[in-house]
C-alpha cells in the first residue's frame, strides 16, 4: 500500500487511465479480463469482467437426464474435476436416497484428496510463478504429473474424470494404483522440505506476499469467501469438518489456518492442506474396507419431486449443487454454487491502493478457475 503522490490538476488526465489485463494474459489462469483503473502504478479501481468461457452448463442440465449430465461438473472446475464429480453424485444420491457402499466412499475420498493435492500444486506454484519463480512451478508440475498418472490409471482420463457414478464408483482400484499411491505419499513427504527451502526462504517471495491483499474476516463474511482463501484469514471453516459428508468423519485431520489474511497466508494454508490430504489418503488406504464398489441403481434415476442442496469442499472453497426435481428423469433446475465466483469478487474490495504488480500476486493467491466462474 502507498499513498499516491499529490498531483496537480493539469496532469490528472494523463495520470489516471484504464488498463485491460486480459482476456488473454499469462498471469490470468484462463480467459479472465481485469479492467484496472490506474493512477500511475497504483490501482484505483478494479473490475473483473467474466463470461468469456460461458458454456451454459445450467441450461444444458435442463435438457438431459441426470446420467447424461455426469460429464459436465468436472468440466466446470477442470483442476479439481474428481471433487466436482463426487459432489454431483452425492447431490443426486441425496435427492434419490441412494446408499453408497463403504468401499466406494473410501475410494472417492482417496481420489478426491489426490485431486485436491494436484489442484493445490497448481494454485500454489502458479502463484509462485506469477511472482517470477519458475523453478517451483516446474517442480510442482512434476509432482502433479504423478497424481494425474495415478488417476488416469483408474479413471481413464487425466483431468475431466467421470469416475464416481450414482451409487458408487465406475471400477475398483488396482494394485498398481494402491502401490503407486503409497509410493507417491512417501515421495511427496520428502519433497515438502525442498519446497519449504525453495520458496519460504526466498526473500523476494516473502517481500512480495507479506501484507499484500489482506482480506479481513468482515470482508470475507460480506463477500461469502470460502476455502483456503478464507482459512488464510483465520476462519477455520471447511465443509469436510463443518458439515461432514462421505466418510470424512472417520479420519483425523486438521484444518490449517493462518491469521494474517495476506497472500503469504493463503499460500501457506494451501501447502499445509496438502500435508493434511496426504494424512487422509494414508488413513484411507490403511483402512480400505473390502466389499462391493457400487450399489444397485436403476439405469435411469428418477428422484422424487422436491429440491436439495448439497455442498462439498472443492479445492477452491465451498461448492454446492442445488437441484430441483419435478419427479421426471430430467432435472428441472440445477444451480451450481461456484466458490471462485465469490472469491473473485472480493478482489474489487482489496485491490484498490495496491501496485499493479501486486494485483498479479493477489489474483494468483486467490487461485480461481475461470470455467467454474462462467459455467
Amino acid at each position: 500500500m502507498l499513498n499516491p503522490k499529490t498531483i496537480d490538476d493539469a496532469s490528472i488526465e494523463q495520470r489516471v487511465y484504464q488498463l485491460n489485463l486480459g482476456p488473454q494474459h499469462p498471469s490470468t489462469h484462463g480467459v479472465m479480463h481485469l479492467l484496472v483503473t490506474l493512477d500511475g502504478e497504483v490501482v484505483i479501481k478494479l473490475e473483473p469482467v467474466i463470461g468469456y468461457s460461458h458454456r451454459g452448463h445450467e441450461k444444458m442440465a435442463e435438457n438431459r437426464t441426470y446420467e447424461q449430465f455426469l460429464p459436465n461438473p468436472p468440466r466446470m472446475d477442470y483442476l479439481s474435476g474428481m471433487i466436482f464429480n463426487h459432489g454431483y453424485c452425492m447431490a443426486v444420491e441425496k435427492l434419490c436416497g441412494i446408499e453408497v457402499p463403504r468401499r466406494a466412499e473410501y475410494i472417492r475420498v482417496i481420489t478426491a484428496e489426490l485431486n485436491r493435492i494436484a489442484s493445490h500444486f497448481i494454485g500454489a506454484m502458479d502463484y509462485a510463478m506469477g511472482l517470477g519463480a519458475i523453478t517451483p512451478f516446474l517442480w510442482g508440475w512434476d509432482d502433479r504429473e504423478h497424481i494425474l498418472d495415478l488417476l488416469e490409471g483408474i479413471a481413464g482420463s487425466r483431468l475431466t474424470y467421470s469416475y464416481s457414478r450414482f451409487g458408487g464408483v465406475r471400477n475398483d482400484i488396482t494394485k498398481d494404483f494402491y502401490d503407486g499411491t503409497r509410493r507417491f505419499i512417501d515421495r511427496l513427504r520428502g519433497r515438502f522440505w525442498d519446497y519449504e527451502n525453495l520458496i519460504n526462504q526466498n526473500i523476494i517471495f516473502i517481500k512480495r506476499s507479506q501484507d499484500v491483499g489482506v482480506i479481513t474476516k468482515e470482508a470475507a463474511l460480506a463477500y461469502g469467501v470460502t476455502g483456503p482463501t478464507l482459512r488464510g484469514s483465520g476462519v477455520a471453516y471447511d465443509v469436510r469438518k463443518q458439515e461432514p459428508y462421505s466418510v470424512y468423519p472417520e479420519f483425523t485431520f486438521e484444518i490449517p489456518t493462518r491469521e494474517a489474511g495476506d497472500c503469504l497466508a493463503r499460500y501457506q494454508v494451501r501447502m499445509a492442506e496438502m500435508e493434511q490430504s496426504l494424512n487422509i489418503i494414508e488413513q484411507a488406504l490403511d483402512r480400505l474396507p473390502p466389499g462391493p464398489i457400487r450399489s444397485k441403481v436403476p439405469r435411469f434415476v428418477t428422484p422424487p419431486p422436491g429440491d436439495c442442496y448439497c455442498t462439498f469442499e472443492s479445492a477452491r472453497g465451498e461448492a454446492g449443487f442445488y437441484i430441483v426435481s419435478d419427479g421426471s428423469r430430467i432435472p428441472y433446475r440445477i444451480k451450481v454454487r461456484a466458490p471462485s465466483f465469490s472469491n473473485l469478487f472480493v478482489l474489487t474490495e482489496i485491490c484498490p491502493g495496491h501496485f499493479l504488480a501486486d494485483v498479479i500476486a493477489i489474483f494468483g493467491s486467490i487461485d480461481v478457475t475461470v470455467p467454474e466462474i462462467d459455467r
Partner: protein, 164 residues
Amino acid sequence: MPTEEPKKPLASIKNSLVQLIPEAELRDRDDRECGYHLEVRLVTRGMRRVAREMRDRLFFLETITAVDFLEYFHLVYLFTTYHEEHLRVMARVKLPREIRPFSVWDIYAEAIWLEREVYDFFGIRFQGHPDLRRIINPDDADYFPLLKNFGKTKFTAEIDDILC
C-alpha cells in the same frame, strides 16, 4: 413481557423471524434429506428483513438463484454460518413475473454479483441495485437463457404443487 431467548440457535432464529416477519411460513426440514435445516417461505416481499437478521447473526450468503415456473419465480437465498455448529437456512420468495424484488446488496456485498447473475439469466430486475448489468452473457444479448420458454426446455404444470 419479553420472552426468554432460546438457547438453541435454530429455535432462536425461528423465534426472531416469527416476530420480524409474521407473514412468513417457517418449516423445519431434515438436513440429511434436503441439505438445509430451516425453510422460510415468503410471498413477494420480506427478503430484506430475513437477510438483515441473518447478517446480524453472522451468517454468510451462499448463493442467490431463481427457479422459473412460468407465471412466477421462486427466488432462493441460502445462508449458512462459519460457526462450528452447522446450520443452513433457505429462504424462498414466490415472486410474480411483473414484480421487481428489492436488492440486498447493502446487507451482503456479494449480492451485487449474485443478483447480476440472476438478472442475466432470468431478467429479474432488482430494485435499488447499483449496477444491474449483464455479467456472464454478452452485453448486447436480448435473451434470458434460463427462462423455461427459452430454447427447447420442457416445463410441467404439476411442479407448482410440489414446491408450494
